[in-house]
Symmetry: C2
Subunit: 199 residues, 2 copies
């Protein structure tokens, strides 16, 4: 089985280097991306939606040009284990999901995916082998159309930048009269203002 | 100037390969990650918060072990151009931001950062040269403490997985009695249910 253009073993090495460990979700994600790309028209310029923030985004970032930072990959959390690869202008594309109904013959994958086994009791080698032998058989595929409000290619107007009157930092002005952090959403407290980084 | 362990040129090559283009935000992000890491205690095990989803997450993913998919990098959008690297258990860390008050001598960076110039009029070569000569001088640094509710290391209990009674897919049960997608938040419409991926 190939994962993207890589052999299975090459992909595991790349997962280790980028993701830090060979997590089961990275195996699922690698197969899911491969299934979806095979079903897209040749040469399609696509964006990706990941329906989970766990592992799947990293499989996309390893195997496609789409990253979180370049905006071609976005996470829309539905709590489900699914990916959508779609034409970045029309929204037509392919959705692939790990199908809980097809795991009867794959107890190690099932124990991990449905969280039936606590992590210390999961057998990673068995999970890897089951993903390898299952290949695409445990996944479902749908042809979908991404809703216009989720299509990045349709909204290319950036908000103006303003200086927040409270913190004096630049922020995207569409978020309000001050930056959201100065309205209480900052995820941190300042311990010491260190001033310039160059000093 | 080094970006992480890379020469400036090596970093540009890596940016091109991962991010798809040498975007100004990737230069800012590379310098910001470098400033923050130099200020963390040697050997610190850190997580990262990016206050913007544009470019910065990719600089983090290129230069640190922290990725979106492994959960060590998260985006908390405050609209500002800032990164926080922090001890994953105590929350103490370093925040680095691009300081709009320090851009007087850097018109190309200013034109990009404050969106004073439309993209076609921005001079990428000039922006690169200005970032290179400015180095850390145009950034601000703060010692911060990330709020407990944003510290990933403190919350390791995963919700149980349930089968959604509507779509029959597995989802994280803490999100409700059906998956959020089946309550109307799905970012797509199904055009054709393709069934098994293996067929």
């Amino acid at each position: 089985m190939k994962i993207g253009t890589h052999s299975f073993e090459e992909y595991l090495d790349r997962v280790q280097a980028f993701h830090g460990s060979v997590a089961p979700g990275m195996l699922a994600g690698g197969i899911m991306v491969t299934i979806a790309r095979e079903r897209l028209p040749e040469g399609e310029i696509f964006d990706v939606i990941s329906e989970s923030g766990h592992c799947l985004p990293d499989a996309v970032q390893l195997l496609t040009p789409c990253t979180i930072g370049n905006g071609w990959l976005r996470i829309v959390n539905t709590g489900r284990y699914a990916l959508i690869l779609y034409n970045k202008y029309t929204g037509f594309g392919v959705r692939v999901y790990l199908d809980a109904q097809k795991l009867a013959g794959f107890p190690a994958v099932r124990g991990w995916f449905l969280r039936e086994l606590p992590k210390p009791e999961q057998d990673l080698d068995a999970i890897v082998q089951e993903f390898r032998s299952a290949g695409p058989d445990i996944f479902g595929v749908q042809k979908v159309r991404v809703k216009p409000e989720h299509i990045q290619g349709l909204k290319k107007v950036h908000a103006a930048i303003a200086i927040c009157p409270v913190c004096k930092e630049a922020y995207t002005s569409d978020l309000g009269d001050t930056c959201p952090a100065c309205r209480g959403t900052a995820p941190f407290l300042v311990v010491q203002d260190g001033g310039a980084a160059g000093s």
